[in-house]
Symmetry: C2
Subunit: 228 residues, 2 copies
DNA sequence: CGTCAGTTTGATCGTTGTCAATCAAAGTGG
DNA sequence: CCACTTTGATTGACAACGATCAAACTGACG
C-alpha cells in the first residue's frame, strides 16, 4: 500500500488535485508550510540555500512521494521544493493530515517507510559527494535517476529516458559547478558511455556506465565487510 | 516518549542489556542484522565502506537512538556500526521487535520520528560536505557534536566536552584526509577558536566558532527564501 | 624499552573552481 | 516575421584547495 492509496481511501473533501507550472515552488525554505502534497506526476527538486548564495539539491522526487510534511508543525522548512517540470499534485491541509495520521496507524508506518528510504538515499548522496570524483559522481547520480524512472538497471545499449535537468541542476546535486559538469559530460560522451541532451539521457554503454557509477557489477554479494 | 521508554514498558524477556568494548562493531556492512539495539550509553559511528577502501562516516549516534533496524528484514546492512567508546546497549531480536511495532502504533510513530530527524541530519551533512570548505566543514561537525552532547549552543568561552574522535574519524565524516584535518585544526587553534586534544573539545571562542561553522548568528529569522 | 596508533609538518601534484568569452536555442515584443 | 533578450552549454586560461607521499614526532601501553 502507498501513502497515496491510504489517503485516497479516505478521500477527504479538503484534499485538492492541482497542476503546478514548471519552475514554481511548492514551498520555500524559511517559510512554514501549512499543506502537504502527494506528487502524482512530474519532477520536483528539494534544495537548500546557504547564506552565501550557494545551493544544494538534496533529492529529486518521483511520483508517489509525500512532500512538505515536516515532523514539527509551524516550524520553517529547511529546504524548498521546486518543480522541474509541470507537476500534478494532491494537496492536504496540514491540520487535516495530522488528524489522519493520528487515527490511521498504517499511515504512520508508511510515513516511516518513506522517511527511512529517504534517509538511505541521503546517505547514498553523502557517500557520492564525499568520496567519489566528478566523473563517478555524475554517473552515479544519472544511474540513480535512471533506476528511479525505469525501476531497473540499464541493460541494453542506447536505452533512453526523459530527464528534465539542466547541467547546473546536476552540479548542485553532486557538489560541482555547472562548468565542470559540462566538461565531465563531454568526457563521458566521448568515451561512448552516456549522452545527455535536450532533456534526454541515453545510456550508450550500460556496463561501462554502471562501472563508472561505482557499482561493482562483476559478481553480486561479494562485499567484504572488513574493518573500517 | 522515547523509543527506549516505549520498549521498556513492554520489558520483553528476550531483551538483553550488554556492554560492548571500544572498537567493536554492533553490526557490519554486508551482513544481515538479526537484532536491533537501543543505545544507552557511549558513542557509536555509522559508516559505509566503498570497494576502493575509502570510508564515509554517515553519522554519530547519541544515547537513545535505535540502531540496526533496517526496514526490510533479511537484507544486508548498507553500513557498519562501530563503537568509539565502551558502549551500553539493550538488544532486541529483530523478530520480536517486528511484532512489537505491529502491535504498538505509538512505536511506529516514534520510528518515523527518529527516521525523520536522521534524514534531516543526513541532509545537513550533505550540505556541509558539498558546499563548505575544510575549515567550515570541521567547525560545523564539531558544533553539531557539541550540541548533541550539551543540547544547546556554546555560550561562555572555554566550555569543554568529551569527544572521543580521532582526526581520521573527523576526516571520514566530513570528506577530508586526516592530514588535512590536522592542518585545519591547527589553524582553528592558532586563531583561538577551538582546541581539540586528548578526547576533549574546548570551545575557546563561541562566537567565532559558530560563525566558522556557517551559522549566521547576527539576527535570527532573517533567512531570505529567494529563488534557487 | 620498544611498539603502535595517532598527530604533525613539508614538498609536490592534481582536480576542480573561478573568470571570461562565445555560442545555440528558445522565448518575447515590436 | 524579425530584432532582442534570456537561459543554458561550451571552451580556455589560470588559481587554489586539498590529496598524496614521506618523515619525524608524541604519548600510551605492554
Amino acid at each position: 500500500m502507498t501513502i497515496r492509496g491510504e489517503l485516497a481511501e479516505i478521500s477527504h473533501p479538503e484534499s485538492v488535485t492541482r497542476f503546478i507550472p514548471t519552475g514554481a515552488e511548492l514551498y520555500s525554505q524559511g517559510e512554514v508550510c501549512h499543506r502537504c502534497f502527494v506528487l502524482l506526476d512530474g519532477w520536483v527538486a528539494l534544495s537548500t540555500l546557504l547564506d552565501d548564495g550557494s545551493c544544494q539539491i538534496l533529492d529529486f522526487t518521483a511520483p508517489g512521494a509525500l512532500l512538505g510534511f515536516q515532523l514539527a508543525p509551524n516550524v520553517p522548512m529547511y529546504h524548498s521544493a521546486r518543480c522541474l517540470t509541470a507537476v500534478r499534485i494532491c494537496a492536504y491541509p496540514r491540520s487535516v493530515f495530522d488528524k489522519l495520521v493520528e487515527r490511521n496507524s498504517r499511515l504512520a508506518f508508511l510515513l516511516f517507510r518513506q522517511a527511512s528510504s529517504d534517509e538511505a538515499r541521503a546517505h547514498d548522496h553523502l557517500v557520492n559527494v564525499s568520496l567519489r570524483a566528478a566523473r563517478e559522481r555524475i554517473a552515479h547520480l544519472l544511474l540513480e535517476l535512471y533506476v528511479k524512472v525505469r525501476h531497473q538497471l540499464p541493460i541494453r545499449p542506447h536505452e533512453t529516458i526523459l530527464l528534465p535537468l539542466t547541467q547546473t541542476d546536476i552540479g548542485q546535486a553532486v557538489g560541482l559547478t555547472g562548468v565542470h559538469v559540462s566538461r565531465t559530460l563531454r568526457v563521458l560522451r566521448e568515451q561512448g558511455i552516456v549522452r545527455l541532451a535536450n532533456h534526454m539521457l541515453e545510456i550508450v554503454d550500460p556496463i561501462a556506465f554502471t562501472r563508472a557509477a561505482g557499482l561493482e557489477t562483476d559478481a553480486p554479494g561479494n562485499r567484504t565487510a572488513g574493518t573500517c
